[in-house]
């Protein structure tokens, strides 16, 4: 099977899983939740296979490069990272409702990649020919994936913890307990933050190797630092009364918005070193 067929299967699976997770919120049937999770696993397998297939396809063209070199490839890797992170959280917490708030990130990413982006395999320009590319991209995107899961949990948290002391009703009754959502939010960021740190460090090491400057306040670098500041604030907020709960959830959502801007906005809107990503 070619990578593009596998990517189609991935997108369809993420769509089906997303719909099933949303239905689960309404129907409240554990079986639906289980099927949704199994389909999410199948989509993740297809996504993994597709990335491997694309790697092989690039090699067959004579390019020795990991499939992480342009916006298309990074988006599908981002979707993969989100699923990896989500599925690990699911193994631990078994909060199926969370899927309804995390799968959409992966699904819309895949749709955008497949319908809006150029999927041609192109060889790397000299600056990108480095093993640092692989380390840098993998660490950054695993970090981003943690923030995506945290953002999904935060949105749910704000929905559940809407009114103080009031028991959530309707669909929201099926949401995980607000304390669990708060915990997932924190744990996901706790894992994502060191990964982002490592991503920034590997990027700095690479820049130092390629251009002799580990930090140049390029917009991409600066935005990664902005994201880092927000999550550093989030982690410290954990220890202060008054900065937990709703405020922490807002910080987490703001952090993910900044992450998305760092990832896409900078490439599409601002100019700088990473503009080749567009």
């Amino acid at each position: 099977m070619t990578s593009s067929q596998l990517f189609n299967i991935t997108t369809i699976a993420y769509f089906a899983a997303m719909i099933l997770f949303l239905s689960y919120l309404v129907i409240r049937s554990p079986r639906v939740g289980l099927i949704a999770t199994l389909i999410a696993w199948a989509g993740f397998a297809a996504n993994s296979g597709a990335i491997l297939a694309r790697w092989m396809e690039a090699r067959a063209l004579g390019f020795d490069q990991a499939p992480l070199s342009n916006l298309y490839e990074s988006i599908v890797f981002f979707a993969w990272s989100i699923l990896l992170f989500y599925l690990l959280i699911d193994l631990r917490y078994r909060q199926r409702a969370l899927g309804a708030f995390v799968l959409p990130f992966a699904f819309f990413g895949m749709v955008w990649a497949q319908f809006g982006l150029n999927d041609a395999i192109e060889p790397l320009v000299p600056a990108l020919q480095s093993n640092w590319l692989t380390y840098h991209v993998i660490t950054c995107f695993l970090g981003y994936a943690g923030f995506a899961v945290a953002c999904g949990a935060s949105i749910m948290y704000l929905l559940v913890a809407g009114k103080d002391g009031q028991k959530p009703s309707g669909i929201r009754a099926l949401f995980p307990d607000s304390r669990i959502l708060d915990d997932i939010n924190y744990k996901a960021i706790m894992i994502g933050f060191p990964l982002l740190t490592l991503g920034i460090v590997t990027g700095a090491a690479w820049a130092n190797y390629a251009w002799g400057t580990y930090w140049s306040w390029d917009p991409k670098e600066t935005w990664s630092l902005i994201v880092w500041f927000i999550y550093a604030a989030f982690l410290h907020a954990r220890f202060t009364r008054g900065w937990v709960g709703r405020r922490a959830a807002y910080l987490s959502i703001a952090g993910f918005a900044a992450t998305i801007f760092c990832y896409l906005g900078v490439n599409l809107v601002l100019s700088g070193l990473h503009s080749y990503g567009g």
Partner: protein, 454 residues
């Protein structure tokens, strides 16, 4: 210091120890950093005036928005965060140090009550036997215990991951180390550039913002520069320079190939492949055919130079394109008549030797070879602080992994004689990830209970 009116020093100290200050400063740093990504940094005054107009320009200039990462207020925020994390760490460190180095070996009632996890077990076994089994099980399931006897009771203390308490301080320290590295680089390092024409050498480089070049103390020669392309495309595959280092009249490094992502270092100075360009005029080899007689001659010329022709006229090549339309390399040239009149320019294609025959005129031209001399553009850097920065990064990663992924788990057990056997009191806590520890503690106390039954 204990009076009700806090001293001035204490007010300042409390201000810098505050966690709220940390959160607010981090958010302020995040928000203000955006400015520098929206307003392009370090451009010319003229560009800014065109873009923003006089009034906005004056405002932004006053606020130092045009080089904001070096502005007093941004550096001020970085100073505040540094002081803040230093103060916080100094305030909390001694207590943590004591917790780790002088663990509480003899817990009292109050201590057990303060712990999040606790259990009380009874055993028919005499205290000595109970203690033996507890020590063995605790050692096997958790960690070897320290035994302390006091007032007829025996206390066991076991801990794991005590070092992870220091993760947060290592992380805080790492940020200061990174800053220190950056400052060292700024004071004792430099960034410069140099262009070296193929076949020539240089011993000086130009530092940014300085008028006089900097002497390297050795010289660098460029033997060759080349760009290679991916087959059938004009996507560059590699920019490559072949460099030699000559120090004290001796060639110490020979034929070192440098490419982007593979620089050359010598005596703490590193050279990075960064740009390239044409150096001087290209040399051409042409074949000129006199149409009437069919006689041909081959000439070498430099681009732009007038080359005499047999009839007293001359020709000159004025332009070159690597790819003209879709016909490959081409030159633009013209012929001057013997009385010096300038002829119309025309195109000669390298890949189509007979092409110029069709033009008519006295001569037909063929381009045999076109060689352009190039220079290689190198970034030159000396940064003695870079290793300090990497050390800081390493500490940061290690520190944050220790701080987030591990926790200091402690278990206390007190055994005393009671009833016909022993009474055993258990307690434990973890400084992070309490839910997971609670599960572990419940399991452990059940296991210990089973041991004590038999």
């Amino acid at each position: 210091m204990n009076s009700k009116q806090p001293t001035f020093f204490q007010v300042i100290w409390d201000f810098f120890c505050s966690l709220k200050l940390t959160i607010v400063t981090l958010i302020l740093l995040a928000l203000t950093s955006i400015i520098g990504t929206v307003i392009q940094q370090n451009r010319s005054q003229q560009e800014y005036l065109e873009l923003y107009g006089k009034n906005l320009y004056d405002l932004f200039e006053t606020l130092q928005f045009f080089s904001m990462y070096q502005s007093w207020w941004f550096l001020g925020l970085l100073t505040v965060i540094s002081l803040n994390l230093t103060a916080c760490s100094i305030k909390r460190f001694p207590r943590v140090w004591k917790t780790v180095t002088v663990p509480l070996l003899v817990p009292d009632d109050g201590h057990y009550k303060s712990l999040a996890n606790g259990a009380e077990l009874r055993s028919p076994l005499p205290p000595r036997e109970a203690l033996r089994r507890l020590t063995a099980t605790l050692g096997r399931r958790f960690a070897p215990a320290t035994i302390t006897e006091q007032d007829g009771k025996t206390h066991l203390y076991a801990e794991k991951g005590a070092w992870s308490r220091f993760g947060v301080y290592v992380t805080h320290l790492s940020i200061l180390v990174v800053f220190a590295g950056a400052i060292i680089g700024n004071i004792w390092g430099f960034k410069a550039y140099v262009n070296i024409e193929e076949g020539t050498s240089t011993d000086k480089v130009w530092v940014q913002g300085m008028k006089e070049p900097l002497l390297l103390g050795f010289s660098l020669r460029c033997d060759d520069f080349a760009v290679t392309y991916y087959d059938g495309t004009n996507r560059p595959r590699e920019f490559m320079s072949i460099l030699d280092v000559v120090d004290g009249g001796r060639e110490v490094i020979s034929d070192r190939k440098i490419v982007v992502n593979d620089p050359l270092s010598y005596k703490g100075i590193t050279f990075y492949q960064s740009s390239y360009g044409p150096a001087g005029n290209a040399t051409l080899k042409m074949r000129v055919k006199v149409r009437e007689t069919g006689e041909t001659l081959e000439v070498s010329a430099r681009e732009g130079e007038h080359v005499p022709l047999p009839d007293g006229g001359s020709f000159a090549v004025t332009g070159y394109a690597e790819s003209y339309e879709r016909f490959g390399p081409a030159i633009q040239m013209h012929v001057n008549t013997p009385d010096g009149r300038h002829g119309n320019p025309f195109i000669v294609l390298q890949n189509f030797a007979g092409f110029d025959e069709k033009r008519g005129g006295t001569y037909a031209f063929t381009l045999l070879d076109y060689a352009k001399k190039e220079y290689t553009g190198l970034q030159v850097k000396k940064d003695p602080g870079v290793w300090v920065v990497w050390l800081g990064c390493l500490l940061m990663i290690a520190g944050s992994i220790a701080a987030f992924s591990y926790s200091h788990r402690r278990i206390w057990v007190t055994v005393e004689e009671g009833g016909k056997g022993s009474i055993i009191r258990l307690g434990g806590n973890a400084h992070r990830n309490q839910p997971a520890f609670a599960l572990f503690f419940d399991e452990l106390s059940q296991d210990l209970g089973k041991e004590l039954d038999a």
